[in-house]
């Protein structure tokens, strides 16, 4: 079996180097971080190790495990219910379950800790009703714990798994399930033994995204008074002012994630299935009345807890504390947020297409390398990444300034590191993993025969890509764009540090207020972020609905 690109030697060389170079460029901040960590002194490390580091590491591991398990439970079950059963309210739940993604995690953390805290409305009301006076009078879960943090973070991140699992379930060849039914398995058994394993690559990709996002997080976790490895990173950097130690710890975090990913990839190596004619007509499992009740409750609880409740709380706050004039003032800020997010989403999607198509269509041991190494940025905490950006681009800016001076021109100042270029680059480095993972799991659904069948009919490589692969990848491309757009809208630590003067985004705006206990005043901006994140989600759902509606049939 020949791969297309191998045909002409010249073309092979042409395609390869730019792609490798591009992925290496995206790796630069990671390399800068690793290099900065090399000069670390052992003093601080031994001190940390003897005191707090073991706890931090334990917390990190537990948090990662809990969040991944919870979000897989939330995401896979809801995706399965939506795609494979006749659950009531499916049309609404389909897109409702995506919405928690539009909520910034730190916002949800803030809202829920306030809600369920000892001094919050829930416990206060309970104490008033039952005449309890102090905490020893009753038992109530403490939300500011590892468990509480895990649940909240899983609530915000499970849509990743939900969306990728749902796409995988929808794109699967249903003939396989029919065959399984013919061979005597029940509908549910077929799901567990056929549909679920087939979707495993997609679920694994989403789970790795969830893991990286969880471990890189600082603000949310700090709010829950849970101390993880990122706490140590910030402590060493800002407290002990030891940048080398901070970078060393961040490198350790990344290595840990790297090994997890490698193990996970090894575990599913060799798994591949493709059929040439995919039957997408789903036979839906009929749920009994009690099953309907549990299924609906499960999905609705997720939607309410992950989105509807926080959103209502925000609306109430905005209603009480803001007015339309403030909304108008937020418009330029909103435009800034959108500007950066659109750039980040578009560029990461294009790069993801390049890397994944490269991996698919070329031979050679290292063909998946560009895609994999460009994905590491996701595991770097936002502020650390911002630092790496500055370390990378400030020297380049210096160089540009020197050249300008030599040529007798006016020094342009910090062209790259002092403008939104640095922010957008940071976002590409950080969010490449999302786009890569989404499009890669989408590409796996395309049968391999479609790679070279067009060539036998005389189509060139470009034609094959544009007329076959990219149209088939359309939904994955849009999902990838959407996920990166929403993430870029919500992102906080990197843009906070890198932004130039007089350039605010919605997230920096609300951060100013949140960090001073003024969330009520920031609620309007928060709603703005959520709504702007919602728009592409809803649009995407409409777009997909049209193509999807043709593919379901009810079981007679």
């Amino acid at each position: 079996m020949t791969k297309i690109v191998k045909n002409k030697r010249g073309r092979k060389a042409l395609l390869r180097s730019p792609i490798y170079i591009t992925s290496l460029l995206l790796m630069i901040p990671v390399l800068v971080m690793l290099a900065a960590g090399v000069s670390v002194s052992t003093d601080l490390f031994s001190h940390l190790w003897q005191t707090v580091l073991p706890d931090y590491i334990a917390n990190t591991l537990l948090l990662g495990v809990f969040v991944v398990i919870l979000s897989i439970i939330f995401g896979v079950i809801s995706a399965a219910l939506i795609v494979h059963t006749n659950i009531k309210g499916k049309a609404v739940l389909r897109w409702l379950l995506m919405l928690p993604l539009a909520m910034p995690a730190y916002l949800v953390a803030y809202l829920y800790t306030d809600l369920f805290d000892y001094a919050g409305p829930v416990q206060r009301t309970m104490r008033a009703w039952f005449q309890w006076q102090s905490p020893s009078d009753y038992v109530f879960f403490d939300i500011r714990t590892l468990g509480g943090a895990s649940i909240i973070i899983a609530l915000v991140l499970f849509p990743y798994i939900y969306m990728l699992a749902r796409t995988a379930f929808e794109q699967q060849d249903q003939n396989l399930l029919r065959v399984s039914r013919l061979l005597g398995l029940s509908a549910t058994q077929s799901f567990y033994k056929v549909a679920l394993p087939l979707a495993r690559p997609a679920i694994a990709v989403a789970a790795s995204l969830v893991l990286m996002e969880t471990l890189a997080d600082f603000a949310t976790v700090q709010y829950f008074a849970v101390n993880t490895l990122t706490t140590a990173i910030y402590d060493t950097w800002l407290g002990y002012s030891d940048l080398a130690a901070a970078n060393a710890l961040a490198s350790v975090l990344m290595l840990f994630i790297f090994f997890t990913l490698v193990i996970e990839q090894r575990a599913r190596a060799g798994q591949a299935h493709q059929s040439n004619r995919i039957n997408k007509n789903h036979q839906l499992i009929n749920l009994s009345i009690s099953a309907q009740f549990f299924a609906s409750s499960f999905c609705w609880l997720l939607a309410i807890a992950g989105f509807i409740l926080p959103f209502i709380l925000l609306v109430i706050m905005a209603w009480q504390h803001s007015n339309f004039e403030q909304f108008l003032l937020l418009v330029p800020t909103g435009i800034n947020s959108i500007e950066i997010a659109v750039w980040a989403a578009s560029l990461t999607t294009i790069l993801a297409m390049l890397f994944t198509l490269f991996k698919r269509l070329t031979t050679g041991k290292w063909r998946s390398l560009p895609m994999q190494i460009s994905g590491f940025g996701y595991a770097i905490p936002g502020t650390v990444l911002a630092m790496a950006m500055l370390s990378t681009f400030a020297p380049i800016d210096y160089f540009i300034n020197d050249i300008a001076h030599l040529l007798g021109l006016k020094r342009p100042g910090l062209l790259l590191s002092g403008s939104i270029f640095a922010i957008i680059f940071a976002y590409i480095v950080r969010f490449a993993a999302i786009a890569n993972g989404t499009i890669d799991s989408g590409i796996k659904q395309i049968p391999k025969s479609l790679d070279y069948a067009p060539a036998s009919l005389g189509a060139s490589l470009i034609k094959t890509l544009t007329k076959i692969h990219i149209p088939l990848l359309k939904s994955s491309i849009w999902v990838a764009w959407l996920l990166v757009f929403v993430e870029a809208m919500k992102e906080l630590p990197a843009v906070l540090l890198l932004r130039p003067f007089n350039y605010e985004t919605l997230s920096t705006h609300i951060y100013q207020l949140i960090s001073d206990e003024m969330l009520e005043q920031g609620a309007l901006g928060a709603i703005f972020i959520v709504l702007l994140g919602l728009l592409p989600i809803v649009w995407l759902n409409q777009h997909k609905n049209d193509s999807h509606n043709n593919n379901t049939e009810e079981q007679p």
Binding site: Y118, R144, N401, L415, G418, S419, I420
Partner: protein, 340 residues
């Protein structure tokens, strides 16, 4: 496909040229501030300055990493002024050689020597006290920081994270007074007295007192005023007394918000004008009043509300000395596993 590529590249080129043009020289007079304080807290002050001088003030606010950014930007940094909320940030900036001296007489005259650096690289603008808030259920008490380790308060103290700069500064002052060993013992007993794991912020602790979760908390002075002004939080503040600790001995621990002149400030004259403005009597009054802090300039009275909390003796230990103990303080906090 080709069309799309062309579109993409032309947009890239246009955007890059737009970015470049934003860096061309602007005709307006301006000064650039990197601030650790939220912009809306300092805006009233800056508006006043612009009215008076016609110089526009640009502010970028970030809580972490501004020093790093400044260091990386180096000689091309657009920053003129650094505004901080804590002594440790100023010391860090000075130690990393990111500040330059401003020897203007008006600054030296306006600010007492313990509230500015010996080499005139940083200056305090306001002071704030690390108070101990006590529940009115306890009645009037005379409390010291050392009493936080006393067993009579077992299980009745709430505080924010031990790693927070305010806490670290307090521990640093304890080290300066009592030495390392005693401070570690104090930290461990303090931790044993906590009602819950350190969490939340200063106002959150007063909220917890209101809910009878604890009776004692640490908090900066200005939060008292902020709570009184907030309709939801007023009831918390009404339930506590604001105490100035250690009035029988060295005095209450004081921290500052301060200012420094950036080493490579591009708008040097404007920056110096801003600094001179900020230590002027009307600006001191406005700044302190807006944020309910104590003005650092002698002869300027704090706002009525702040004054109503009483006169007090402040710890006269030099802030530089306290800041020297910062890293050791962090080590002790880690040793005591205060947050865990």
């Amino acid at each position: 496909m080709l069309q799309k590529l062309i579109n993409f590249f032309s947009k890239t080129i246009i955007s890059i040229s737009l970015i470049i043009t934003t860096f061309s020289a602007s005709a307006i007079d301006e000064v650039n501030v990197y601030s650790y304080r939220q912009a809306f807290l300092v805006e009233p002050l800056f508006e006043q300055f612009t009215k008076q001088s016609g110089i526009k003030v640009n502010v970028v606010f970030a809580k972490k990493g501004m020093a790093e950014r400044l260091a990386r930007e180096g000689q091309y940094s657009p920053a003129d002024i650094l505004l901080t909320t804590d002594i440790s940030r100023l010391i860090e900036l000075r130690d990393r050689d990111l500040l330059q001296a401003n020897n203007a007489e008006v600054l030296i005259d306006a600010i007492p020597s313990q509230y500015r650096s010996t080499d005139n690289t940083w200056f305090a603008l306001t002071t704030r006290v690390r108070n101990i808030y006590s529940s009115k259920r306890l009645g009037d008490i005379n409390i010291s920081y050392e009493d936080l380790a006393d067993s009579q308060y077992k299980g009745r103290i709430c505080t924010r994270s031990g790693k927070h700069p305010y806490t670290v500064a307090l521990v640093a002052s304890m080290i300066a007074e009592h030495g390392e060993t005693k401070t570690l013992a104090w930290l461990e007993s303090f931790k044993a007295n906590l009602a819950r794991k350190p969490q939340g912020n200063d106002r959150g602790q007063v909220q917890a007192i209101h809910q009878n979760l604890c009776d004692i908390s640490l908090g900066n002075s200005y939060y008292f005023g902020k709570m009184l002004k907030d309709k939801n939080q007023k009831v918390w503040a009404d339930g506590v007394n604001i105490n100035f600790p250690n009035q029988n001995n060295r005095g209450a621990h004081v921290n500052i918000s301060g200012i420094g002149l950036a080493k490579h400030s591009p708008n040097l004259d404007n920056a110096k004008a801003l600094m001179a403005f900020l230590v002027s009597k009307p600006a001191q009054q406005l700044y302190a009043e807006t944020n309910m802090e104590y003005p650092v300039r002698p002869g300027v009275a704090p706002s009525k509300l702040v004054a109503s909390w009483g006169d007090f003796k402040a710890d006269t230990l030099s802030l530089e000395t306290i800041a020297k103990n910062r890293k050791l303080a962090l080590k002790l906090i880690d040793k005591a596993r205060f947050d865990l």
